[in-house]
């Protein structure tokens, strides 16, 4: 437990000190979303229609930007060997790193989304559902992303390969995340979608660290 908290705190501290990691993710998220109303034009009906989907797609792409850093620096500077030889099982080490990654990227994305949703003239109910869907879904993005980051470790064009592996895996959170807002707008309530989103994150919680740890062991060989 001491080791788990120690790793979580170190990764978070590093993310805060190199503010650029979180800054780039957030900056990309904001800019990508702002571009849409400019490109599509000031038609409230269209913007309301596409708002949730745009915010979710931007969140996926922004999360993708930060993934290659998840294990790369540890892999390059020998920190991964120290982790593998620590008292912490590698699966839990991955979980601690994912948790820190989520706090440094997923959480800020979810918390800025209500302000960006205003650009699309979403009503307060839709904004609440959108924010909740991001809060529930972004842990899955970090966890699923860790598998792809571990698998592509040491690959020559890691970033490009990473996006090819991870984007298809991001389809379920995208469908149910954007779907929650749509269902809410249609009067059906987003509850079912949000529950499925939470289930995705919960299922990823044990499965993804396990898969990532296996890939990391391969990278250490």
């Amino acid at each position: 437990m001491v080791a788990f908290i120690g790793l979580f705190r170190r990764d978070l501290r590093l993310a805060l000190r190199h503010g650029s990691d979180t800054g780039i993710v957030l900056g990309f998220f904001v800019l990508a979303i702002v571009l849409f109303p400019l490109g599509v034009g000031p038609e409230p009906a269209i913007l309301q229609r596409i708002g949730a989907g745009v915010v979710w797609v931007a969140a996926l792409l922004a999360a993708l930007l930060s993934l290659d850093r998840l294990f790369q620096t540890d892999h390059q500077d020998g920190g991964l060997e120290i982790l593998a030889l620590s008292s912490l099982p590698l699966e839990l080490a991955v979980l601690a790193k994912c948790a820190a990654h989520w706090v440094a990227t997923g959480l800020p994305l979810a918390l800025t989304s209500p302000f960006l949703a205003l650009l699309f003239d979403l009503d307060s109910g839709a904004i609440a559902v959108l924010t909740l869907s991001l809060l529930l879904g972004t842990p899955a993005l970090s966890l699923i992303g860790s598998v792809a980051a571990a698998l592509t470790l040491g690959a020559r064009r890691q970033g490009a390969l990473l996006s090819l592996i991870v984007l298809p895996l991001y389809i379920p959170p995208l469908v149910f995340g954007a779907g929650a807002v749509e269902a809410n707008a249609a009067g059906a309530g987003g509850r079912a979608h949000l529950l499925i989103l939470a289930a995705l994150s919960l299922a990823a919680l044990p499965l993804c660290p396990w898969a990532s740890a296996a890939a990391l062991r391969q990278a250490l060989e």
């Binding site: 001491v2 080791a3 170190r10 540890d74 020998g78 060997e81 982790l83 008292s87 060989e221």
Partner: protein
């Protein structure tokens, strides 16, 4: 020197032993037929040309890679049977220092101690001792990006002192160290061995480690570098 403690001495019968060890990296058989026994207080110095398998042997001893053939035991137990237990009793300091530019040496050591399950209470005194062992006090609160290569190396070596472990695996530990610090490391190794600890180290330098057993890895290189069926 506090490193090593009495942990090694509490397991008098537990020798690290290798029997007929072989190592394969990719298609290439690096070495084969390597046997040795390392008792408490013993030291093993690995020498050999580049690519003769010094790093591979150290990683193998650390349990990071599996041998292609042969057995590796601690006492009577093969280390594969208790990998977690084996990892807990060793320190591996590789080529790379694992030092993050954004953290200070003190924070780095606190993190490394935490990875070994050492909480806040047991830290302060151990930390100071570890920093002192490699004369890192003056730079303890600088960001590591300001440190020189030798200072980073010393920080990596301070990991040996911050949490005691009976087996030290050191890959070229003298690289980048100046003369004083080479002496410090030699003293640390001597202190560790005096307390019953074991050391395996790879080096090119003509360093004298008292009563150490030397292994010339070139002698274990297979005739045909792509020998199959091992």
């Amino acid at each position: 020197m506090t490193a090593g403690g009495t942990i090694g001495a509490t397991e008098p019968g537990a020798d690290l032993a290798a029997v007929d060890l072989a190592c394969r990296r990719g298609e290439r058989l690096v070495f084969a037929g390597l046997s040795f026994r390392l008792a408490a207080g013993g030291a093993l110095v690995l020498r050999g040309a580049n690519g003769s398998g010094k790093t591979s042997l150290l990683r193998l001893l650390a349990g990071l890679i599996a041998p292609a053939a042969g057995r590796l035991t601690w006492g009577e137990t093969p280390i594969d049977d208790d990998l977690a237990g084996h990892r807990a009793r060793l320190h591996y300091v590789g080529h790379q220092d694992g030092v993050k530019p954004g953290l200070t040496p003190r924070e780095t050591l606190v993190f490394w101690a935490a990875l070994r399950g050492c909480g806040i209470r047991c830290r302060a005194s151990m930390l100071d001792a570890a920093l002192a062992a490699f004369a890192l006090e003056p730079v303890a609160d600088w960001p590591c990006r300001w440190l020189s290569a030798g200072q980073r190396r010393r920080l990596a070596l301070a990991r040996l002192s911050v949490m005691p472990a009976p087996l030290w695996l050191l890959d070229e530990p003298f690289t980048a160290l100046d003369h004083d610090n080479q002496d410090r490391l030699e003293r640390a190794i001597a202190g560790h061995r005096a307390a019953g600890g074991r050391v395996v180290l790879a080096t090119h330098l003509p360093i004298e480690i008292g009563t150490a057993v030397g292994i010339e890895l070139d002698a274990f290189a297979p005739r045909h570098s792509t020998a199959a069926g091992v």
